[in-house]
Subunit: 339 residues, 4 copies
Amino acid sequence: MTVRVGVIGAGMIGQDHIRRLTDVVTGAAVTAVTDIDQARAAEVAATVGAVALPSGAELIASPEVDAVLVTSWGPTHAEHVLSAIAAGKPVFCEKPLATTAEDCLRIVDAERALGRRLVQVGFMRRFDAGYRQMKEVIAAGSLGTPLIVHCAHRNPTVPDSYTSAMAAQDTAVHEIDVLRWLLDDEIVSAQVITPRATGMRFEHLKDPQLMYFETANGVRIELEVFVNCQYGYDIQCETVGEKGLVRLPDPAAVGVRTAGAHGTAVPQDWKGRFADAFDTEFREWINGIAAGAEPTGPSAWDGYAATVITDAAVRSLESDSQVVTVDMKPRPAFYGGTA
Amino acid sequence: MTVRVGVIGAGMIGQDHIRRLTDVVTGAAVTAVTDIDQARAAEVAATVGAVALPSGAELIASPEVDAVLVTSWGPTHAEHVLSAIAAGKPVFCEKPLATTAEDCLRIVDAERALGRRLVQVGFMRRFDAGYRQMKEVIAAGSLGTPLIVHCAHRNPTVPDSYTSAMAAQDTAVHEIDVLRWLLDDEIVSAQVITPRATGMRFEHLKDPQLMYFETANGVRIELEVFVNCQYGYDIQCETVGEKGLVRLPDPAAVGVRTAGAHGTAVPQDWKGRFADAFDTEFREWINGIAAGAEPTGPSAWDGYAATVITDAAVRSLESDSQVVTVDMKPRPAFYGGTA
Amino acid sequence: MTVRVGVIGAGMIGQDHIRRLTDVVTGAAVTAVTDIDQARAAEVAATVGAVALPSGAELIASPEVDAVLVTSWGPTHAEHVLSAIAAGKPVFCEKPLATTAEDCLRIVDAERALGRRLVQVGFMRRFDAGYRQMKEVIAAGSLGTPLIVHCAHRNPTVPDSYTSAMAAQDTAVHEIDVLRWLLDDEIVSAQVITPRATGMRFEHLKDPQLMYFETANGVRIELEVFVNCQYGYDIQCETVGEKGLVRLPDPAAVGVRTAGAHGTAVPQDWKGRFADAFDTEFREWINGIAAGAEPTGPSAWDGYAATVITDAAVRSLESDSQVVTVDMKPRPAFYGGTA
Amino acid sequence: MTVRVGVIGAGMIGQDHIRRLTDVVTGAAVTAVTDIDQARAAEVAATVGAVALPSGAELIASPEVDAVLVTSWGPTHAEHVLSAIAAGKPVFCEKPLATTAEDCLRIVDAERALGRRLVQVGFMRRFDAGYRQMKEVIAAGSLGTPLIVHCAHRNPTVPDSYTSAMAAQDTAVHEIDVLRWLLDDEIVSAQVITPRATGMRFEHLKDPQLMYFETANGVRIELEVFVNCQYGYDIQCETVGEKGLVRLPDPAAVGVRTAGAHGTAVPQDWKGRFADAFDTEFREWINGIAAGAEPTGPSAWDGYAATVITDAAVRSLESDSQVVTVDMKPRPAFYGGTA
């Protein structure tokens, strides 16, 4: 009855998901762990009574593993996901699905060849209660056709290792995925503008960035990415339709009046802001596997789409803010398309 | 065309109203000023080109005065208002109309004998945009019959001279008037409770106080009066009906996100909070006089009612929080009643 | 490792908690179920692979049961809780702990005699994120000493079987428990006032009711209970201290602008409003048992206190709104008191 | 003492300002009116006891006119403003100052030649309380240097006569002026994007439009103009700085909870939304004239700047969304510049 999960990659995010699968989500058990650092794998495995295995390949092959969670270094994702598909095992891969469009397509092709969805990509916003309410409102149609989406994605600070391209690859990629799903539409072009940069950052980093995306249906998406905004982790999203708009709520927090002001706290990191979304994401993934169903979360195709759209955004950033057409294959019927 | 106003009492509030009649309200001119301190009267009169007169009686009698504004010390109100009625001149009297119920009744009787409304009492909340919206919502009926009203009236601090009885007489009196008008109902009993007192006050003062009023129709009003709340001047009012509720808005103010919080400023005094209400109050008063109409603001009867209701509240405060029945005469037909 | 829970009472609330212990909370399994309706017990047990047992006594005695959950009819609570204490097993009892103060005291005495806390009472609000934030703010001290609490507890409608006394016993009891905890203070008197009743209710029911509680420290609690407010399930709480106030947030919900208004949905039932609180309540209860720790949630003493305070409120309701002193024993040292 | 105003143009906006100068603003009187429709001029003049004059030239020359208000058809503005400057009389000109950059420059040159500011242009947002609070917050510096401004300007509907170019010329021009003032910065380029158009409009109209402006200091302004949004008149503005953001409030309005939702009304037109701003605009203009001071509101230079910036926006709209550099002369020292 219990879904036995093997985890490839025991770093911070891997450990957090192991905790989630162990302490938060019912019906799951982490039975195997591997990591490039074998000592770390052993140490983490021991905390949950799992075995440490020497490689992803052995973990995927293990009869004690029903499903695979890939939280290793991005460039290794494709190899592990392809192995899991080859083994016919469900695989949850943290973003990115793969670091190149080519590798994403190899995964897509492998899954299509198998004829059954096994892959889910770790975009958690589709599981956030606010975005789900927003999708319901849009789908209900009372606001008419969506025309514009205004978004902001702000972090208090990022480390020195964060590069300008990561604003698209690591940060905006969450909006890219959730808006494709929210609008049930495809992004066809990207542009990145760099306004005056904040002085409270590293010299090498262009921050904030303003990103613009156009969809196949002509919706315009405006996204502010500002990863050193200092004041908090703040996610805003407003969809404007022909007859009205719908806006993501701020997280509920007590209001305090004192010393001349009414104030509410702003979250300080994504872990707190999206904790419930992460829990729901894994709960639904595990429940689906337990029920023998194919995953309903972000697919390999969504992972591919996110990669080619972020590629377009990075090309725009690196080519003086040109509008860059997204280089995306036609969507196969297997993934709900017409190709 | 211009309404020529004579002002009795040139203290702080008198000066503020003189400024309003001169600089804010069109169609009015302050032509005469008197004050117990004749030097002050002369000084204030000079700033607006008015004459200083030696007494209220002479001011009321002056042919240069079309209408009278009484902003003198409370115990002198009745005498001046009665004189104005005797002279057949419109008179705006700052609260209280008179300091005793008997004096209020003498004014009521004089006005009834005259057969024409000349008196308006200075309760400005009826002119506040928020309360007016609330009254419209209630009157429209979509919330059903009102059942309960929750209110709070908070000041940052009060001076040492403020007494426990003033919580009803000076502070709650604003809610007493505006709620009688809002509900179109009469208050029939009052009770005052003193919970744990704030330590940030003068020893002699019971603060906060919780006041409860019942209306003829059975509506229950809960009012928190807290005049040393430290954080700001904060007016709250929520009317609960059979099918929903309506709540007074906080004043519009920019929202600021910085240093981990989203904040908006809370007003610090009643002058700012009700500046627009004061302006509207005097604009409508002057326009009515210019049009030869009787005043539509709080009447002499409303001034009487406020006095007997605050009397009941003070008796409750001084009698160990007994529920005290308001000792009010039947409302004459002249003031919209049935007596 | 798994905590095996036996459930006494397989009605609606019992089934909901069984689902929670099975699908939401890790580390727990429902292994036995009993109900006065044995067919229902068998049916419910089958859905989670538990055994159906003929009586609470046998369930409590079962070696397959580590901990007991009592969700049966209120009058049977005391018997089952006492049996669980006698068996030395942790027991979670839905409110009320017992229907009489005497039975509550028997439980308190039994637990004290045992010398170890086994009982937790099902007041879920202490586990709500908003109340927990509020408690943190109060405890941090920046608002000074609490002086007043304003609360509202509104339901859209209740069935015909709901009586006027249930406004205290079933509805206000949640505020009674959470405010004792929030303020870390004891309630010493209660008064219930019945303003004009809504016309949108059963003739026999006094609704709304206004309840007033005083604490040992002199804090005044005002609580509106309105169980046929029509518009939604709405929980409000504002604590006013010497230097400011803190207010419970409304649940986060998307804002929608259309047709001339900005709107957000109001929850329609307590299940949705407090779903996360229920999950946290059981998660912490199970984790505590798994760790061998005594429960930290509402204790048998809290269950006793809630009962004697609601008793006082009902006596006030039935005695023409007299202020009724709570008839509570001194709090034993075992429960953090001094007796 | 009274400032005698002559009004050129007695259409809807002219009549509204005549009402304002007569009924709302103290110290002013409308003494003369002219209009291309002489019957209308006579009729409007009669309502306020003014004389109707046959032409703007005669009105400006009249010894009964101290100051001139130009509310005639846009293409006639320049002529009247130049005549007023020639006559040495203060002139308030509704937007636009002139319909071409050349005419604006003629006015600028005439005023510089005179060496004294006489011209104020009717951009009322600088007088709105919310924008003024926002400017104070920005100027105080606690949010750091401004980097990005997000704005929306939405109208419920526009008439058939509204053209795509008017989105910049008539609608966005308000943001253009107020943001130059708010940021104390100059706009140097403009771009207009047309996303999917609403189906709820005239076929000829591109609506909504997304406009982007860059300032000399590198601030990026994003402005959504949507003049058939159906739901209301909605003005949003958020300025993001290095350490936080400040957001314009929605107008204060009562909150209503009924039928499952919490709602507040959205204004339906600009007259209501900016009524106080219009009043303040004229009050300050009249007070300045009465005091013999030069106007402090939007200057002829600001009128010129607004015109060349809207020209750039229209060129972008008409050239397939090219980024268009604003063709602005260097700012003369007379207007606070360095040229």
